[in-house]
Every structure is written in structure tokens, then in C-alpha cells.
């Protein structure tokens, strides 16, 4: 599916995982054209749409950028009107509306993750056709196929921040190791009530597995 995207696509691996007190959202950093040319080795797929809400993009880069730009505006407007930080669910819904109403033209999927006062850390998936789903953790992009087994086996609810970081880093490294359109560095953002922490792990510092 990802390989049929015309133009630059984020054949990619993205994920978001809740832990005890926050959520970690992560991605690789490769953008490619048709899987044969890497047009960027260091693209950041983690877009901040509000103070404590991030989203990560998969699919057509042009579509994703257009949608997130529109969503960012709508969310900040909504936040000003409501005079309070937006709910993560609200941000995810904005993305969903855009994806669902323009489903014929768009080819982009999103994961929204963040923290809000009402429900704490949350993760939402907006799939290609505009479905919205809330999950404790989720993986997406072309590279995610290879880590379904790993994620199912290793995820535990209520992990600590360190365990969650390890889980997310390992998952990204494994997917980048098997998917040729995922690669580069691993971007990770930790979102908690206190704030937002952005980490970049270069390719050579990623965990290595038995055959590497």
C-alpha cells in the first residue's frame, strides 16, 4: 500500500505507547520516493500540534503536512475558544474529520498521542479511511508489520518511563532493521504532565540484535 504512493512518502515506522504517567511517541526518520531513493535521512515525523499533544505521520508526506497544518490551526483556535488546553481526543477528532471528509484524495494515516488533565496519557489512531480508535499503544507505517509480534509480546500496561523508552527504542530498531523504507535516526518524544522531552537516537546507537 505504501509503495503505491506517488511522490515522496514516509514509508515509515511510527508508534505511541502509554506508560504510568505519560506517553511516548516515536518514529524513524526516513522519507523515500517509491522505496528506491531516500529523499531525506533526517526528517522529523513527530509534529507538535499543541503543548502536550503530538502526532506522527505515515503515508504521503504532502498529504500529511497539509492535514497537520490545518489541524494545528483548528486545534489552537479551539483551545483559545475553550480557554483551556485541548483534550487529546479533540485533537485526534480534528484529524479524523479531515481524513474522513477527504478520504478519496488523501493517503495519510496518523497517530495522535498526548496528555491532558481529564484523562491523562492517551493514544489515538486515525487510519487511512478516517477511523478513530483509542488504544493503550499503537504501531503504524510500513515498518510496523514486522513488529506486531514483538509489540504484542512485550507490551505491559503501566510500565515505568524507562521500561517504556526501552520498549519503544527496541521496537523502532527492530522495524528499521527489517523494513527498507524505514531508517535513519529514531525520534522519541516523552509527554507528561510536567512537559515534553525530545530525544534523538542516531542509527549507530540503536540497540543491536543477534545477527547484526
Amino acid at each position: 500500500m505504501d509503495s503505491q504512493i506517488k511522490g515522496v512518502s514516509t514509508g515509515t515506522t511510527i508508534l505511541a505507547v502509554t506508560f504510568n504517567g505519560g506517553v511516548i511517541i516515536g518514529s524513524d526518520s526516513r522519507a523515500s520516493i517509491g522505496g528506491s531513493y531516500v529523499s531525506s535521512k533526517t526528517i522529523n515525523k513527530l509534529i507538535q500540534v499543541h503543548d502536550r499533544i503530538f502526532c506522527c505521520i505515515a503515508g504521503s508526506l504532502a498529504d500529511a503536512q497539509a492535514v497537520t497544518k490545518a489541524a494545528k490551526f483548528q486545534i489552537s483556535f479551539h483551545s483559545i475558544q475553550m480557554e483551556s488546553p485541548p483534550l487529546v481526543k479533540a485533537a485526534a477528532s480534528v484529524l479524523k474529520e479531515l481524513c474522513y471528509n477527504n478520504k478519496e484524495e488523501l493517503q495519510a494515516g496518523f497517530i495522535t498521542a498526548g496528555w491532558d488533565r481529564k484523562k491523562g496519557p492517551q493514544v489515538y489512531t486515525v487510519a487511512l479511511g478516517g477511523m478513530l480508535l483509542s488504544q493503550p499503544f499503537t504501531i503504524g507505517g510500513s515498518g510496523s508489520t514486522y513488529i506486531y509480534g514483538y509489540a504484542d509480546a512485550k507490551y505491559k500496561p503501566d510500565m515505568s518511563k524507562e521500561e517504556c523508552l526501552q520498549f519503544a527504542t527496541n521496537a523502532l530498531a527492530l522495524a528499521m532493521g527489517r523494513d527498507n523504507v524505514s531508517g535513519g535516526v529514531a525520534h522519541l518524544v516523552v509527554i507528561t504532565e510536567e512537559g515534553v522531552e525530545h530525544m534523538v537516537i542516531p542509527g549507530d546507537k540503536l540497540p543491536k540484535f543477534h545477527d547484526e
Partner: protein, 231 residues
């Protein structure tokens, strides 16, 4: 991660597809999960048990672990007809070769026989095969012969449609130097994870351990498989 409901094939009032079920047109395939792991002293092989024709499960208790010789097995994925035919042919060839040699055959020989057939007839065949076994010269060995007819020896190999989902699990959980029990546990978990995610894999998990002593077969029923979700 796309999710959509499939629409009917056409808008015609009398769609000929309505009178004959869709699976009657589909080829029988072992959309599947197969894997094999080497350990010191032998190999452990495993497979799910689902054979599908389209969306109909033609056989829910298939045995995809096929003996080729006393200590050599193959795990079949792809078209059920193609893999059965190729396996039968190789079984014959290997049996003949073994009698000529007056010795048990090498796993490498069996694997190369598979490769020759899969490569020569690569356009006609849809067969992804993992050959695994034990011989006196090199102990436990796993050779993978994917579609197209390449051959490569690997300490651990997964194949079939369900294999995509467990590459990450395999890369992170396999360690060289595992014991037979650890390999069995690893294989059971990997199969359970793949069967959970792949629609074309399911049923029971069949496992076999091949060592110098002989063969040991196991079946893990669906409700006894390790569970990884709250569902």
C-alpha cells in the same frame, strides 16, 4: 493500518458470483506461518494448521511439516498443490540418492534438491519452503528456499504470510546457543503471535524437534497457546 469494509464485486442484480461462493474460484493456499530454529544437537520446526481457499478454511488441522527423510523435514508455505508436488518429488529423489549412497542423506542435499526444483520452475510455482533436519556431518541445520528459488542457511528462519508480523519478535528473542526446550518455547510463542495477527494463519500449532535420536512431535491446541492480549 487501513481498515475498510469490502464492497460487493458489482452492482448487477444477478451477479453470477452469488450462485457460487467466492472460495470456489480461489486456489487452495497455505497462507501460513512456518519457522525453524537450529540448536546444538538438532532443529525445532513449527507451523500453524490453516489451509484456505480465499476466505474459506479448507482444512483447519493441516500438517505443514512434511517428512522428507528420517531426520529431514520441510515446512511448506504457498500453494498447497505446488508444495505437495515438490515435496513428493524431492522425497523420491532423496530416497533414491540415500540408497545409492548407502548413508543417511545430508540436509544440505535435500535443501539443494528443493532449490533446484523451485528455481527451475520458478515461474509456474508458488512455493516457499524451509528445509530443516539433522545429519552427522553438520548437526542441526535450517535452510530456507523462498519463492524464486534462492537457498540460504540461517540459524533461525520464518516464512509464510504470518512471518512478517514476527520478524521483530524473532530478531529480539532469538539467542544463539538455546537448548531444545528454549527453542520449543520460542517457536510456540512466535507461532501464537503470528496466528493472532495473520488472518491466513490459525488453528493449532504443530511443532517437531529433530535430533540424532529421532523425531518428537507436539501439538499445541488453540486454547492452550500463550495469550498476549487482554482479548
Amino acid at each position: 493500518m487501513a481498515v475498510y469494509m469490502s464492497a460487493s464485486h458489482s452492482e448487477n442484480a444477478f451477479n453470477t458470483h452469488d450462485f457460487v461462493p467466492e472460495w470456489a474460484h480461489e486456489e487452495v493456499s497455505t497462507g501460513t506461518t512456518i519457522l525453524a530454529v537450529e540448536f546444538d544437537g538438532g532443529v525445532v520446526i513449527g507451523a500453524d494448521s490453516r489451509t484456505t481457499t480465499g476466505s474459506y478454511i479448507a482444512n483447519r488441522v493441516t500438517d505443514k511439516l512434511t517428512p522428507i527423510h528420517d531426520h529431514i523435514f520441510c515446512c511448506r508455505s504457498g500453494s498447497a498443490a505446488d508444495t505437495q508436488a515438490v515435496a513428493d518429488a524431492v522425497t523420491y529423489q532423496l530416497g533414491f540418492h540415500s540408497i545409492e549412497l548407502d548413508e543417511p542423506p545430508l540436509v544440505q542435499t535435500a535443501a539443494n534438491l528443493f532449490k533446484q526444483m523451485c528455481y527451475r520452475y520458478r515461474e509456474e510455482l508458488m512455493a516457499g519452503i524451509i528445509v530443516a533436519g539433522w545429519d552427522k556431518r553438520r548437526g542441526g541445520q535450517v535452510y530456507t528456499v523462498p519463492m524464486g528459488g534462492m537457498i540460504v542457511r540461517q540459524p533461525v528462519s520464518v516464512g509464510g504470510s504470518g512471518s512478517s508480523y514476527i520478524y521483530g519478535f524473532m530478531d529480539s528473542n532469538y539467542k544463539p546457543g538455546m537448548t531444545k526446550e528454549e527453542c520449543l518455547h520460542f517457536c510456540t510463542q512466535a507461532l501464537a503471535l503470528a496466528m493472532e495477527r495473520d488472518g491466513s494463519s490459525g488453528g493449532v500449532a504443530r511443532l517437531a524437534a529433530i535430533t540424532e535420536e529421532g523425531l518428537e512431535r507436539l501439538v499445541v491446541l488453540g486454547n492452550q497457546l500463550p495469550k498476549f492480549s487482554n482479548a
